[in-house]
Amino acid sequence: MNISIEERLGLVSFEIDNEKHIKVDSSHCTECDEKTCLYFCPTKRFTLENGKIKHDYEGCIECGTCKFACPKGVVDFNFPRGGYGVYYKYG
């Protein structure tokens, strides 16, 4: 049962929207020392690629952490449009 976060997300049901519900202005991320997004997101949607923070909205389970946990405040958080996003079968 020691499965990776990618495998875990494979168990979750999504209706993927083609519109991003979370927008990250990563131009300020290079000057951010903490990069706390790499730790707080329970689905590992924030990754560091060649020194740049990248956010992937697909696979986001809308927990809300990034809305207020980014120290630079560059995460523009909204929920997916109605009917889209995660839908839990157990919850």
Partner: protein, 421 residues
């Protein structure tokens, strides 16, 4: 949608459904708007609801509601790095009347929302409310996409990340005030669950874990028994997680491999992973002109250390919101002053009383010693009491030995505990 509604409720979780059900029974024309494909689609909790509040609204609801198991066994496991100490409390009196039930939200929430619909409320799903409508600083309706719907009063029951309360400037989000819960549903045969947790058929257990499982981060682990699955998870304070620089999802992954946990979930299959923030210490203003805030949206959760409550408070606040609307409608006055009756009702009921009783609990529970020093101390003491290896000491002398150099700190923390939890 051209129909005029007396009340619009944003969100069809327990707060929204409790309000919608109560208002529909009072013969109001109620609209409940849900952004998920169905009620409960977006909702996460550890897994247990205390029965008191819903039983007041729908007596003996468990006879018809999709509850999982009635909790009759309460366990608390204190873990150090190498040892663990479990308190196992079994109480005949928790059986009747039932104290709490384990629940799966994607099953329970649709049932509750449907009770409101049966009572006469209108439910629309798959619609995200984008904003509130305002006129002369009073909320006059909601905006969803290109639709604008007017109403007398809006009830924001849109959960822990309440964008409605934020838009009404009733709530500010601060990372220090929130915890993060992560959970997995692990499938196991009914009989296996009953054997492993020593349960009679249909009865359930709740087990909390404190100590090593959260890697020195304030928080804890939990296991709740469902009918044919376990809800297994971790709750941690987000700002402390960030300080430790540990990836959140790694903590729940390691929790599964913890020897005490591994034996309980052995042979099981993970069916689903979920996560959500919990407004542990976050509170919002609960009313303004034309708007009431209920449940998690208002930060109406209470963690006493042993009882972790949200759903019962959501339901009680939803009912209080309905009572407030009824009174406001009689006077045809939906002003802030008129709606302040809501807070009065919550103060009279357990909701704001319990919030006040445990207002210092969150600060106390963020003390790192609770998750490091004390679990180590308890396990060390029992290690010494149980081990036979050369001459033994009396229990009290072992206690003095293990607590050496820590006693003043322990007394201070004990006093703080008495004042907060």
């Amino acid at each position: 949608m051209s129909e005029k509604f007396d009340i619009i409720i944003v969100g069809s979780g327990p707060a929204g459904s409790a309000a919608a059900y109560s208002l529909a029974k009072m013969r109001f024309n109620v609209l409940m708007v849900e952004r998920g494909k169905y009620p409960g689609a977006k909702n996460v909790m550890g897994g247990r609801m205390y029965a008191y509040a819903l039983n007041r609204l729908i007596p003996q609801f468990w006879k018809e509601a999709p509850v999982e198991r009635k909790v009759v066994r309460e366990k608390l496991t204190i873990q150090s790095e190498k040892a663990s100490f479990t308190l196992d409390f079994m109480d005949e009196e928790l059986r009747e009347p039932p104290n709490s039930f384990t629940i799966l939200r994607a099953r329970f929430d649709p049932w509750f929302a449907n009770k409101a619909v049966e009572a006469g409320a209108t439910l629309v799903t798959g619609i995200r409310v984008d904003d509130l409508m305002w006129e002369n600083k009073k909320v006059t309706g909601i905006i969803a996409g290109t639709d604008k719907i007017e109403t007398n009063v809006v009830i924001a029951a849109d959960g822990a990340v309440s964008l409605m309360a934020e838009k009404a400037r009733l709530k500010k989000f601060d990372v220090k005030l929130f915890a993060l819960g992560m959970k997995e549903i692990i499938e196991l045969p009914e009989k296996t669950i009953e054997e492993r947790f020593n349960l009679a058929s249909g009865e359930g257990a709740a087990q909390l874990f404190v100590g090593n499982c959260t890697k020195e981060i304030p928080g804890g682990g939990f296991i709740y028994t469902n009918k044919t699955s376990l809800s297994v998870g971790i709750v941690i304070y987000i700002d402390k997680l960030i300080e430790k620089k540990i990836e959140s999802h790694e903590i729940i992954r390691e929790f599964n491999t913890n020897p005490e946990v591994a034996r309980l979930i052995e042979g099981g299959k993970i069916l689903e992973y979920s996560a959500h923030v919990i407004p542990e210490a976050s509170r919002s203003e609960l009313f303004t002109d034309g708007l009431l805030v209920a449940g998690d949206a208002g930060g109406l959760v209470v963690n006493s250390g042993l009882t972790l409550r949200g759903m019962d408070m959501a339901i009680a606040s939803g009912v209080a919101a309905a009572e407030t609307v009824k009174r406001a409608a009689e006077k045809n006055d939906f002003s802030k002053e008129s709606l302040s009756y809501y807070e009065e009702l919550l103060k009279r009921d357990f909701v704001l009383q319990d919030k006040k009783t445990f207002e210092k609990a969150s600060e106390f529970l963020q003390n790192e010693r609770l998750y490091t020093l004390y679990p180590e101390f308890v396990c060390r003491l029992f290690h010494r009491l149980t081990l036979v290896k050369g001459p033994k000491k009396r229990a009290f002398d072992e206690l003095l030995e293990v607590s050496k150099g820590k006693r003043i700190q322990m007394c201070v923390d004990m006093l703080k505990a008495m004042r907060s939890i």
